[in-house]
């Protein structure tokens, strides 16, 4: 057997060889424990053999599978091991999960691959290397058994953690040969299964329960806010309410005189950061340190702080909106899409339709307020945090502490929601700064108000649509002018990072308009960037979560103007669609929702479709609007194309949950600016839907196209709800909704 390792291409094999020599890097638990309440800790109990960086097998057949992406509620801590299990051919009832170490990933040349989460991409991006890790281990276990019996490896099969020598029927369990598999080397990497060959994912795993649920029904799951570090003090923090403003003065002595208060520290006094790190910089503000949060919080609330706010304090929602709308009328936007000659075609069109749509800043409003705990000592930095992005934690902690990255240890806790907010590590920077300054562990806690007012918000966006209709009433020309701020770059960076610099387009922010497969012979999409002092970032379904609303509502306007049924109009628009998923998804939802069925007065169906991270989605909602204008969404039928189903229940859960979030964003969510700062502060003025407003969600699987397609489902229902509901409202009331949130609009009818 030659020992032909391909060092760069298959890191997990390298790890086994180069680092551990194999034994005892991993440990396993009895199957009942599955995931530890403190998920970053290595489970104690029986030592096992580390077959590769992902997989540890104990003599009793317990298998621990390491998960690179943190569990944020989407089911990754269960779904990722399932993917490994598919290739490993192991007994699922004996699988445990633990988080992979971000520190190890850095030390070992990115062994765990992509460790941040977002963009519905956990499954999509991790699948190939998780499968490869499982296949690699399976083949080496087979080799170990072959060596044991002195037979050719081709005579061995692996099923449910049992290796069988087919000619003789002899059997060995994985746990019996795991240690011997460690030094085994493969000549070449095994070919991984195509999704159509799966026999566990999307089939046998259907009834499998999530690993984390037991910890989340008895209060034992440890979230960042729950972390207890010996000797830690608590910091309540407040940064300048006007983004970018400075501290002028504060009454430290008064605060220090209060019970339990240990210190008062100004943060970010003379800090300068590059534009690229704006969202994660140490903003200027004040921290009150005490023994308990309540002591710190009440002292901070009572403290007089004066701010130096300058001209930024003149900015309001009105001034920002004026600027945005003015940009729509500027000539010469950067061209994002161009087909045919929309401007000329519009001049010649028999009929034109025109409308302007707007969407506000909104917050992620995840239930766990922002917090982070850090301990900076002479030789290392340890961080405990609810993070979507452990690698950013390490980057920021290294930068703030001045220590090299290999000295940073990120302990990822359970996460009380993220939705795009928990990836920039501004919280971690504060904790590291304060721990370094105080020379002891510090837990930084933001109040709900601080959390809501200092997010990385979804940017505002407005769009002006002009469509030309042909003699039959179908659309043959469309001109869209778009004005907004990028959701992937922050203040100070004009257009950079993730942005098509050459053309000055933020392609990400324009998703949901520029990537729809509608056949428009003349189409022009122009972009005008609008700068703002408000920090912005990704919010579940970036770009699409506002563009699907604006675009699909406008398509509905064209249906009305052209006298076309929305289903017929979309079928026409999809006549040239290259991806068969578009029509399949549309037809599936039309059929399952009984599109076009008669509805009582004041009630209506509404239809919308879009694409997000490769997942095509179509939805039909049923809405009733009272004569007084109160909107109630009764049902949402949704079809989608993610290619294949891997873990059905988790998919349904994501679609149900995303619907609630989409509905909140449609009906209620908005952040307003007054005197340069955010007005809303808590759930009394930033309303979210509750159980009484939750529609019945019906998830339909008939839109799947299979093949090589594998995409995610974390975001699609969130982005599809606002346009579907808006279109239903029009059909119920005759009132066209051109901005969110709908609570601001008079929807009464008679």
């Amino acid at each position: 057997m030659t020992n032909r390792l391909e060092m760069n291409r298959r890191q997990f094999v390298v790890t086994t060889a180069a680092v551990g020599g194999g034994m005892a890097m991993g440990f396993a638990l009895p199957a009942s424990a599955v995931v530890l309440p403190e998920p970053w800790k290595t489970p104690p109990a029986a030592a096992g053999s580390e077959i590769n960086a992902w997989i540890v097998i104990a003599p009793d057949d317990t298998i621990t599978i390491r998960v690179g992406q943190t569990e944020i509620g989407t089911g990754t801590i269960t779904a990722m091991p399932m993917i490994v299990c598919e290739e490993l051919e192991c007994d699922w009832s004996k699988v445990n999960a633990e988080y992979a170490s971000g520190n190890r990933s850095l030390r070992e040349n990115n062994v765990y691959g992509r460790m941040s989460i977002g963009g519905s991409a956990s499954v999509t991006q991790s699948r190939p290397f998780l499968q490869a890790a499982g296949a690699n281990a399976r083949e080496r276990l087979k080799m170990a058994a072959a060596a044991e019996w002195n037979v050719p490896v081709t005579e061995i099969t692996a099923v449910k953690s049992v290796l069988t020598h087919t000619p003789t029927g002899r059997k060995l369990r994985y746990g019996q040969v795991a240690a011997k598999a460690v030094p085994m080397r493969l000549e070449k990497d095994p070919v991984i299964k195509h999704p159509s060959q799966f026999n566990f994912l999307g089939k046998e795993n259907d009834k499998a329960k999530r690993f984390d649920t037991p910890l989340k029904v008895n209060g034992s799951a440890v979230f960042g806010i729950d972390v207890k570090v010996p000797g830690a003090v608590v910091a309540a923090v407040k940064v300048a309410p006007v983004f970018g403003a400075k501290v002028k003065s504060f009454d430290a002595a008064g605060a220090k005189a209060r019970p339990g208060v240990i210190d008062v520290i100004e943060m970010g006094k003379d800090k300068k950061h590059s534009a690229a790190t704006f969202a994660s910089q140490l903003n200027n503000g004040v921290a009150v340190i005490a023994n308990t949060y309540w002591q710190a919080r009440t002292a901070l609330d009572a403290m007089a702080i004066e701010w130096d706010e300058g001209d930024l304090a003149k900015i309001s929602t009105a001034s920002h909106t004026r600027e945005t709308l003015a940009a729509l009328d500027k000539p010469g936007g950067a061209v994002a899409n161009k087909v045919g000659d929309a401007v000329a075609a519009l001049k010649d069109a028999r009929r034109t339709v025109e409308a302007v749509y707007e969407t506000p800043f909104i917050d992620h409003a995840m239930m766990e307020p922002i917090n982070a705990t850090a301990s900076v000592t002479a030789d290392k930095v340890e961080v405990w945090v609810s993070t979507q992005n452990p690698i950013s934690v390490i980057d920021v902690a290294a930068e703030e502490s001045g220590m090299s990255k290999d000295k940073i240890f990120c302990n990822t806790t359970f996460i009380g929601g993220g939705f795009g907010r928990r990836g920039v590590s501004d919280d971690v920077r504060q904790a590291v700064f304060l721990s370094k300054t105080l020379n002891r562990p510090v837990k930084v806690m933001w109040s709900r108000e601080e959390t809501l007012r200092h997010g990385t918000f979804r940017p505002t966006a407005a769009a002006k649509f002009k469509a030309g209709l042909d003699a039959e009433g179908f659309i043959n020309a469309m001109h869209v002018t778009y004005a907004g701020h990028s959701s992937v770059v922050w203040r100070g960076a004009a257009l950079g990072n993730g942005v098509d610099d050459k053309n000055k387009i933020d392609a990400n922010q324009l998703r949901g308009i520029r990537d729809i497969d509608y056949a428009l012979p003349n189409f022009l999409l122009e972009w005008h960037p609008v700068q703002t002092h408000v920090p912005t970032g990704a919010w579940r379904g970036p770009g699409v979560n506002q563009n699907a609303f604006m675009y699909e509502s406008f398509i509905d306007e064209c249906c009305v103007a052209g006298g076309k049924d929305p289903l017929a109009m979309r079928r026409n628009l999809l006549r040239n669609a290259k991806d068969p998923g578009w029509l399949k998804v549309l037809n599936e939802v039309a059929e399952k929702s009984k599109w076009g069925k008669p509805m009582p007065k004041g009630s209506a169906q509404g239809m919308a479709m879009t694409i997000d991270h490769g997942t095509i989605t179509a939805a039909v909602v049923e809405v009733s609007v009272s004569q007084g204008g109160e909107v109630k969404v009764h049902t949402l039928d949704m079809a989608f194309d993610i290619g294949h189903v891997f873990y059905k229940d988790a998919i349904i859960a994501q679609i149900e949950g995303g619907t609630a979030m989409g509905l909140s964003s449609a009906l209620y969510e908005e952040l307003t600016l007054r005197n340069g700062r955010i007005v809303e502060g808590n759930f009394d003025d930033y309303r979210l839907v509750r159980i009484d407003e939750m529609p019945q969600v019906n998830v339909h699987f008939g839109g799947l196209t299979g093949g090589d397609k594998v995409t995610g489902v974390g975001e699609p229902s969130t982005v599809i709800v606002p346009p579907a509901v808006a279109n239903a409202i029009f059909r119920a009331t005759g009132k066209r909704v051109r901005s969110t949130p709908f609570k601001n609009l008079d929807l009464s009818w008679s």
């Binding site: 309540w294 009380g416 859960a653």
Partner: protein, 151 residues
Amino acid sequence: MITLNVNGKNYNVDVTPDTPLLWTLRDNMGMTGTKYGCGISECGACTVHVNGQAKRSCVTPAGSVVGAQITTIEGLSADSSHPVQKAWIELDVPQCGYCQSGMIMATAALLARKPKPTDADIDKTITNICRCGTYQRIRAAIHLAAKNTKS
């Protein structure tokens, strides 16, 4: 120093009487299953039982519940065997899980008072916020727990 009875045990805690029960539980007693979401009685993440009634502990001064029987998620059952917890596991209700202690405590109090709640009862009583949007499963799990509770 005040004395609180939590999950059947007496604890002497060094807080001023106006300190919210939420922070007393979390910071002074180390019971972190009860969560902070808003601090103003809007979200229900901090729901506990006081003499069997659901209470939002973020706006409940510790001093006001001296002598009362306080139950937190840690004390709802010794082994996650409460019918509500079992229904939650059965239907895999939680996503991020942060709101779920409060949801479970609110539900347990509702079922104690009303063993077979209607959808309208649920709409009126379970006013907690779940940003992950697990409401559809919560409703199903409440009905399941009601079905499985021996009356």
